[in-house]
């Protein structure tokens, strides 16, 4: 098959895949249906303070897998839903930020700075349109970069990296995540080390289960999904329970402001926003491609850069549409670029990407990494078709964003009014159900409660959870690759320092930690 045929096969796999149902003789493909529902639910969840896209992905993943099963046919519908959620929740996050000054997601924090002043001056509708336009443009830009870069990068990786270099590269990604996320690189490292420690239970080369104390409970290791959901979701739920305990939610709703009738966004206005969107989208994409630094930093940087560029009448922070555009373009352009390290190296860098890896890992038949982008001409490479199917899903979700996204954005403002004491127990129940549905054993639930407590303690001690999760996921690959690198070197104790490239990676790992420690101590 030629490159074009692969792309086309991927597109067809999405749009002519198995049908969900028929409307007037037109079959609705299941993948398309999943993208649409993921996108719409994502907008609602993004708009709900206390919930986020990753949360929805975490809870829906086990349920999706139990519905679609473990065949490669399940990959695209499940990926489609996750992609829809990823894009929908980013758009949705801007809504409460603009309308009520309460950001739905942390990335939308900067959106409140100009979005809410616009609402107060009667321009809520315009602010929403600006946010949507910037968000959809940033998203498109990021997707294009992903489509063009990921295959190219993957092929480069495959030809230049051996076992040793791959091991060093994983170490580099882990130290990068540890250094960048959270308040101090040292806490990040502690979190990552914990992740590797827990992942080493019950795994390893030997037939005897490591660190299991001879018990059957630990013999099979800790289910990945229990650890990830426990630390990421349950930890957060426990913290909000505590917050609710301490403070009764003040019910002061922001006063309604009379809104201007002319809230359209003219072509000229859009053109004026374009430079801000372009710069932010570029920044967001670069940041998204690096592991560990998510959309929140992208939004902050995008806003700050926009502020420097800005010379208009209304200054940033007083209701400048450019401020909203700069923020939204930056945080939306992260999601596509996030997948570059996932698809080319198999290394997740951000929470959203973690769930795509988890999905691929649980379903099987798709192993993110260089082997995906093998353009075999004689034999069909099914993974490559899935990869292009994933790209097609992202493009379709982006199209949804351009077409119906704006209408839905205006509807979801109401989600801010859902009180936390109603929401959080619901989240807890849903998470526990989800884990039981996938693992069908109570051990998995006990493990998750344990990791929920760990997640809670980590938040109390300001230790970031993301390095833990990423280290937990990468630990197995890291161990295997290190063992392989060691074997290939004929048992040379200095095997990691024999290749110039791996020395560079290792030096960089130390450099990142030192660099970020210094920067943060000076603050």
């Amino acid at each position: 098959m030629s490159v074009f045929e692969y792309v086309w096969a991927g597109v067809l796999a999405v749009f002519l895949g198995p049908e969900a149902f028929n409307i007037f003789g037109f079959g609705i493909p299941i993948t398309v249906l999943m993208i649409i529902s993921g996108f719409l639910i994502g907008i609602f969840v993004g708009a709900t303070p206390g919930l986020s896209g990753p949360f929805l992905m975490a809870v829906s993943l086990p349920i999706l897998i139990s519905v679609f099963g473990f065949t490669p046919d399940a990959l695209l519908p499940v990926f489609g839903f996750l992609v829809g959620v990823m894009k929908g929740s980013t758009v949705g996050g801007a809504v409460p930020a603009i309308l009520f000054n309460t950001p739905g997601t942390p990335d939308a924090l900067m959106t409140t700075l100009d979005g809410y002043p616009m609402t107060k001056s009667g321009q809520a509708g315009k602010a929403l349109r600006v946010a949507h336009f910037a968000s959809a443009s940033g998203d498109t830009f990021s997707d294009i970069v992903l489509f063009t870069c990921a295959p190219f990068l993957a092929i480069a990786v495959e030809s230049y990296l051996g076992f040793t270099e791959k091991a060093a590269l994983i170490i580099l990604s882990l130290s990068f995540v540890a250094a960048v996320v959270g308040a101090s690189p040292l806490k990040g490292l502690i979190s990552g080390a914990f992740g590797i420690f827990f992942a080493s239970i019950g795994t390893g080369e030997d037939n005897y289960s490591r660190l299991s104390f001879g018990t059957d409970f630990l013999a099979n290791g800790i289910p990945l999904i229990s650890a990830v959901l426990g630390v990421l979701i349950l930890g957060e739920v426990f913290v909000s329970f505590e917050e609710m305990w301490h403070e009764r939610r003040d019910a002061n709703a922001p006063p309604e402001v009379p809104q201007s009738t002319d809230n359209s966004l003219s072509f000229a206005e859009r053109r004026k926003l374009l430079p801000y969107i372009g710069v932010s989208a570029f920044l967001g994409t670069c940041i998204g491609a690096l592991p560990g630094i998510g959309s929140t930093l992208a939004a902050t940087l995008g806003y700050a850069t926009g502020q420097k560029m800005h010379k208009g009448k209304i200054p940033f922070g007083k209701g400048a549409p450019e401020g909203v555009a700069a923020t939204e373009a930056a945080n939306s352009s992260v999601s596509g670029a996030n997948l570059i390290p996932v698809l080319s190296l198999g290394i997740p860098g951000n929470v959203g990407a973690v769930f795509l890896i988890l999905a691929a890992d649980s379903i099987g038949g798709f192993n993110p990494g260089p082997s995906v982008f093998r353009f075999t001409t004689e034999e069909v490479n099914p993974e490559l078709i899935i990869a292009f199917g994933l790209f097609a899903s992202m493009a379709f979700a982006n199209l949804l964003n351009w077409t119906i996204g704006a209408h839905f954005m205006r509807m979801v403002g109401i989600m801010t009014k859902v009180p936390k004491p109603v929401l959080m127990p619901f989240v807890l129940l849903l998470t526990l159900t989800a884990i039981y549905v996938q693992e069908t054993t109570f051990d998995a639930v006990y493990f998750m409660l344990f990791f929920g407590v760990i997640g809670y303690l980590m938040r109390k001690l300001a230790i970031p959870a993301l390095p833990f999760v990423i280290a937990f996921i990468l630990a197995k690959t890291l161990e295997t690759t290190i063992r392989q690198a060691f074997a290939v070197s004929d048992a040379d104790p200095f095997f990691l320092f024999k290749s110039p490239l791996s020395v560079v990676f290792l030096a960089l790992s130390i450099f990142v930690i030192v660099f970020f420690s210094r920067g943060k101590n000076n603050d």
Binding site: F70, T71, P72, E158, S159, G162, F163, G202, E205, D206, N207, Y208, S209, D216, A219, N220, G221, S362, I363, G364, G365, N367, P370, S371, R374, T376, E378, E379, T440, T480, R483, Q484, A487, V488, D490
Partner: protein
């Protein structure tokens, strides 16, 4: 005329089938059957197990619940299955190697061949030592010559048993391999394709690329030549009297009553051998085709394999 023959044939076949079914209904499961799968979802064992489970449900009305108990090269499933009651309501699908070699090789495996009632094998692997065609080696002697000429060769093996086999192959032929442990059936394939490894053991996944001409099987690890590479010599020709391949098989806990064993075995064989089932098509395409060894033949076969694996272990620890 011709059609009448076929019709008669079909009638006779149906009658024969119904007779065997009537005879076989002496024992029937008193509840749902739990089918433990020793490897992860999506692999060769898992795919076969789920296809067979579907056909068994359809033909006999049994309720079968497949469950993956992957890990430690099949040892996790073996340990769990061993502890289940031998009432025919819990069976497992695994590979011969996980029952024989794994239980002997590890210090405290927690199970042995005697802990199981063997039901039947379904098919066998197509184990070959493969390399990229572009390296220019046609069969094993070319590789041996290259190593003797001073090339350092890395070899990917997915199980300790295959690593042992490679060690003996090297020792008997006066060469050295640098053996690298890889994960799963695709580990060696990816390693060789990405030029991280020079050669690798493959149980069958390599054969698509062999047919496409990208890879070549240098030697067969089976007792017979490989289907896709009939010209590749056998390991036995190079001083390795051990079979590196494995068979896929169904097992139950030890002490399963004879009537239950027979009913379950016959039912599985019937599904696997029927050319109209998906599992039949799958094992013909990906593995060695239908190979059903059952009953006392299988007991003998497993005893031979155990003795062979013990000899392999002894030979590689000399």
């Amino acid at each position: 005329m011709f059609y009448r023959f076929i019709k008669t044939g079909i009638v006779i076949a149906t009658l024969a089938a119904s007779i065997t079914v009537t005879n076989a209904t002496e024992w029937s499961p008193s509840g749902p059957i739990k089918l433990m799968i020793a490897f992860r979802a999506g692999g060769g064992v898992d795919t076969q197990a789920r296809l067979i489970a579907g056909d068994l449900q359809e033909r006999h009305g049994w309720k079968i619940i497949p469950e993956n108990l992957a890990g430690k090269g099949g040892a996790i499933m073996a340990r769990t299955l061993k502890a289940e009651p031998a009432d025919g309501l819990t069976i497992g699908m695994t590979v011969t190697e996980a029952i024989t070699y794994s239980s002997i090789a590890s210090r405290n495996a927690g199970y042995s061949v005697d802990d199981f009632t063997m039901l039947t094998t379904t098919t066998g692997s197509q184990m070959g030592l493969f390399a990229k065609t572009s390296r220019g080696w046609k069969t094993l002697p070319d590789l041996i010559a290259a190593i003797k000429g001073g090339q350092k060769i890395t070899l990917g093996a997915m199980s300790p048993r295959l690593a042992d086999g490679a060690y003996i192959l090297a020792r008997e032929n006066g060469i050295d391999f640098t053996t690298v442990m890889v994960k799963g059936g695709k580990g060696a394939l990816n390693g060789v394709l990405a030029d991280d490894l020079d050669v690798g053991w493959g149980a069958g996944p390599q054969n698509k690329s062999v047919l496409a001409g990208d890879l070549v099987n240098l030697v067969s690890g089976e007792s017979k030549p490989l289907k896709v590479s009939p010209d590749a010599p056998l390991l036995a020709d190079f001083g390795v009297p051990y079979i590196m391949g494995a068979k896929f098989m169904f097992v139950a806990p030890a002490g399963l009553p004879e009537d239950a064993r027979k009913v379950l075995t016959d039912a599985i064989i019937e599904v696997v051998s029927d050319p109209n089932t998906k599992v039949n098509a799958m094992i013909n395409k990906a593995f060695s085709g239908v190979e059903t060894i059952s009953g006392s033949d299988l007991d003998k076969f497993m005893a031979t394999l155990s003795a062979q694996d013990q000899a392999l272990l002894d030979a590689s620890s000399e």
